[in-house]
């Protein structure tokens, strides 16, 4: 499938924000520098993906897991990232869990709002909503 160039780039404004946040105030960043760092970041995504995927496949797995990524990061000589990444992952999982619970609570509330006469439909809808949360996406579609 054809990818437009911007699809493989990360948002420039966010890259710039990250750059600025890591520097002391008053430091300026040229357009070329920002562009180079943004492109480097895209290459990093690909390099990390490829490295992690190789590890997953070496372990006869078809799905890339978080652990594969962490191992890849070490292999790529960015071991200092592992600790902060692990911590962030915990926070991410917690937020995903609470979002899921919130969504289920909303779905439940919606169901209760409906009149009892429509017993059939809400059950279908809830099943459809639950299905959404369990889909595994084929990355290669």
């Amino acid at each position: 499938m054809a990818e437009r160039p911007e699809d493989l780039n990360l948002p420039n404004s966010i890259v710039m924000r990250l750059i600025k946040d890591s520097l002391p105030p008053g430091v300026l960043v040229s357009k070329e520098a920002r562009s180079a760092i943004a492109r480097a970041a895209s290459v990093f995504v690909l390099y990390a993906t490829s490295t992690a995927n190789a590890l997953a496949q070496a372990n006869k797995k078809k799905t890339l897991t978080g652990q594969d990524v962490l191992d890849a990061i070490k292999e790529m000589d960015f071991e200092q990232f592992v600790e902060p990444l692990t911590e962030c992952l915990e926070a991410f999982k917690r937020s995903q869990q609470s979002k899921k619970e919130l969504k289920e609570a909303k779905a439940k509330a919606k169901k209760q709002e409906r009149s009892p006469a429509k017993k059939g439909a809400p059950a279908e809808e809830q099943a459809a909503e639950e299905e959404l949360g369990e889909d595994v996406v084929d990355v290669q579609e």
Binding site: P11, A36, S50, N53, K62, P84, V136, V139
Partner: protein
């Protein structure tokens, strides 16, 4: 908003910044166990921009890159089949850390030259001199 959870100290390593050590006071935690469900960030893909912003804006996450975009880049790899949501998240977060580290390293060159503006040349110098950035050799020429 912090770009990384917790402290983000800007202290550089004592030498000329040739290595990539960044001083981050992350608390040690156990390595996360992988979840059984391996759903990729499907829930985040079709949602509106403001919802994406909500995901990225969680103060306890500190994640700025949109997961959907990161996933799109990952999909460019023909060998990749399935990826868990955790994997996409970690790559996104690692890339953010990467940007910060490259910026800091480039800045060292800028300071050495007594300049205030980080140039493309400063970035290229990092790539040439830092081993861990060797994968970028030739990748930024166009």
């Amino acid at each position: 908003m912090e770009s990384l959870e917790g402290d983000n100290s800007h202290s550089s390593s004592s030498d000329a910044g040739m290595d990539l050590d960044t001083a981050r006071d992350a608390e040690a935690t156990e390595a996360a166990e992988e979840r059984e469900s391996l759903d990729v960030a499907l829930e985040q893909e079709p949602i509106a921009d403001e919802d994406v912003a909500e995901v990225n804006d969680e103060s306890n996450l500190g994640l700025k890159f949109p997961l959907a975009r990161v996933k799109k880049i990952m999909k460019a790899d023909p060998d990749l089949h399935l990826a868990s949501q955790d994997a996409v998240f970690l790559i996104a977060k690692a890339t953010e850390l990467f940007v910060e580290v490259v910026a800091e390293s480039a800045h060292h060159h800028t300071m050495k030259a007594n300049r205030k503006t980080i140039s493309g040349r400063d970035v290229m110098s990092c790539i040439e001199l830092i081993d861990a950035l060797a994968f970028l050799d030739g990748a930024l020429n166009d």
